[in-house]
């Protein structure tokens, strides 16, 4: 378990999450009360209400729970996907599946997380595990 939370005690979990992400580290919370992992980060566990939460580095592996191809004119950048990914730890997050054609992503696909930088912003994206 990391002790990042102490080092960043001057801020709330949301700022902590994004500052770690901006340094290339994807972290999620694990409840020390019930053991559940949660995403997005909060000041309490949404499963049991406990406030003792540890930051952990997830394995990064997960499964596409659902996906939609959002249609956009080619001149605006073309179609892109929006996916919901279930991490192997049990938490779910919205993301984008990269490293494969946007329209080929299917529910059930095994994926691996990476931190991508888009301009000023760092964000978690996933690529297919087979390609890794």
């Amino acid at each position: 378990m990391e002790t990042e939370q102490d080092a960043h005690a001057a801020c709330g979990p949301q700022e902590h999450y994004f500052s770690a992400l901006s340094e290339g580290r994807f972290r999620i919370q694990r409840c020390e009360g019930c053991g559940a992992h949660q995403f997005f980060p909060r000041v309490l566990c949404a499963h049991c209400g406990a406030t003792a939460l540890a930051w952990i580095e997830p394995a990064g592996t997960g499964t596409v729970y659902s996906v939609s191809l959002v249609r956009r004119k080619p001149e605006a950048g073309g179609d892109y996907n929006v996916a919901l990914v279930d991490l192997d730890e049990g938490a779910r997050l919205m993301s984008r599946i990269v490293g494969m054609p946007a329209d080929r992503v299917r529910i059930g696909l095994r994926v691996r997380a990476s931190v991508s930088r888009e301009g000023e912003r760092a964000l978690v994206v996933f690529g297919p595990m087979e390609a890794a």
Partner: protein, 391 residues
């Protein structure tokens, strides 16, 4: 202590009205709201001076009940401004029932107006402003086209998990259109086939533009009074038999199971308050912001089992002449959808229960189930309404 079932039928909807359906160029939101309110009050045989309770909310103005009271010249003793998105005007029923039964007030006006289609600051600008005022930092960076992408994710999951087909989703839009063709007030009355839905412009797969509700202007209102008073007013009373609201999440990424909505809870509680079973329902008005909604709510409310919504609507199952009349005004898909549609569900149910629905009248309709949805499958409010014969 009282229990909720003691409130069954104690309050009735005495008047309904709408204004500016479709397009209301040159009018403000407040003006279409006020026109709808005037019609609802007149429909009840009351005057605005009789109104001493107000329930309203807006997608943009956070303190909306104050300008509404000011504009209409009301000094309400009861104010309800809970904002749950499209389900709000269904969810306003129960607190209003309590306010009326307790004697806090004597006549509640529930009202809404929107000019999101024609106003300079319309739907698009509203979405942009909300992303700043009400940020979702764990979803927005991935540019979901909201709200449609959230519903598309639910549709994709339902198809994957239960084998629901694209054609079955299209059936929902086709049935809505068939009802709209019987409703002179509906915006979209041209014939619509399953192929038309499938071949229309894709927006966020698997949903096409014909799987999505209209972007309309419009105002709607209804008036509630205690049942004993309603029996002496102009229209046959429509009794509030049950109402319940449930919220489990706001963001689609926080929803445990995209194939099960909080309607599973709100429906059970509303029916329990009404002392009725789902098979007692004669007509259903289910918030069809997108075609997947109707399937999810048919299942979650218990009209069919989980996963069987697609089969339920097949072959015109919810169209005129089908097994269950659903969205008899043409719904948000083909009648009207001014941002928050919930109030129009109530208006249509009231007309059906008063046998004032013209060519689309469901014969012998005594019990209506109204189900409102808000956000991105986020808030769910179910109401059971009964005709004059039920109390």
């Amino acid at each position: 202590m009282m229990s909720l079932d003691m409130l069954r039928g104690k309050v009735a909807i005495a008047g309904v009205g709408h204004a500016g359906l479709g397009e209301a160029p040159g009018y403000t939101e407040m003006e279409v709201l006020a026109q709808a309110a005037l019609r609802a009050v007149a429909d009840a045989g009351l005057s605005m001076r009789d109104i001493d309770g107000l329930a309203t909310c807006s997608s943009s103005a956070t303190m909306w009940s104050m300008p509404v009271a000011e504009y209409l010249g009301l000094r309400p003793r009861y104010i309800e401004a809970t904002m749950l998105g499209g389900s709000s005007f269904v969810a306003h029923l129960l607190p209003s029932v309590m306010a009326l039964v307790s004697g806090q007030c004597n006549a509640v006006l529930v009202c809404y107006g929107s000019t999101q289609r024609t106003a300079a600051f319309g739907r698009k600008e509203g979405v942009k402003a909300r992303s700043l005022l009400d940020p979702q930092p764990f979803e927005h960076p991935y540019s979901p086209l909201q709200p449609v992408t959230s519903y598309a994710l639910a549709a994709a999951r339902h198809m994957h998990q239960y084998g629901t087909t694209r054609d079955q989703l299209a059936e929902v839009a086709v049935a809505a259109r068939a009802w709209a063709r019987l409703n002179p007030e509906a915006a979209m009355r041209d014939p619509l086939s399953i192929d038309d839905v499938l071949r229309s412009r894709p927006v966020s797969d698997p949903l096409t533009v014909r799987d999505c509700c209209l972007v309309s202007d419009g105002g709607g209102a209804y008036v509630m009074v205690r049942a004993d008073r309603a029996r002496h007013l102009k229209q046959a009373p429509v009794y509030v038999l049950g109402n319940a609201t449930a919220v489990w999440n706001r963001q689609i990424s926080s929803m445990d199971d995209l194939t099960v909505t909080a309607a599973a809870e709100s429906g059970k509680r509303a029916l329990a308050m009404a002392g009725l079973e789902i098979r007692d329902v004669d007509v259903a008005e289910l918030y069809d912001a997108f075609t997947i909604n109707t399937l999810l709510f048919l299942e979650d409310l218990g009209f069919c089992r989980k996963g069987e919504g697609g089969a339920f609507v097949e072959g015109g199952g919810i169209a005129p002449g089908g097994r269950l009349p659903v969205n008899t005004n043409g719904g948000g898909l083909s009648c009207v959808h001014p941002g928050m549609y919930g109030i129009f569900l109530i208006i249509e149910a009231v007309r059906q229960l008063r046998a004032q629905a013209g060519d689309r009248q469901v014969r012998g309709a005594e019990i209506a189930l109204v189900h409102g949805n808000g956000g991105t499958l986020s808030s769910q409010s179910t109401a059971v309404l009964g005709s004059a014969a039920t109390c």
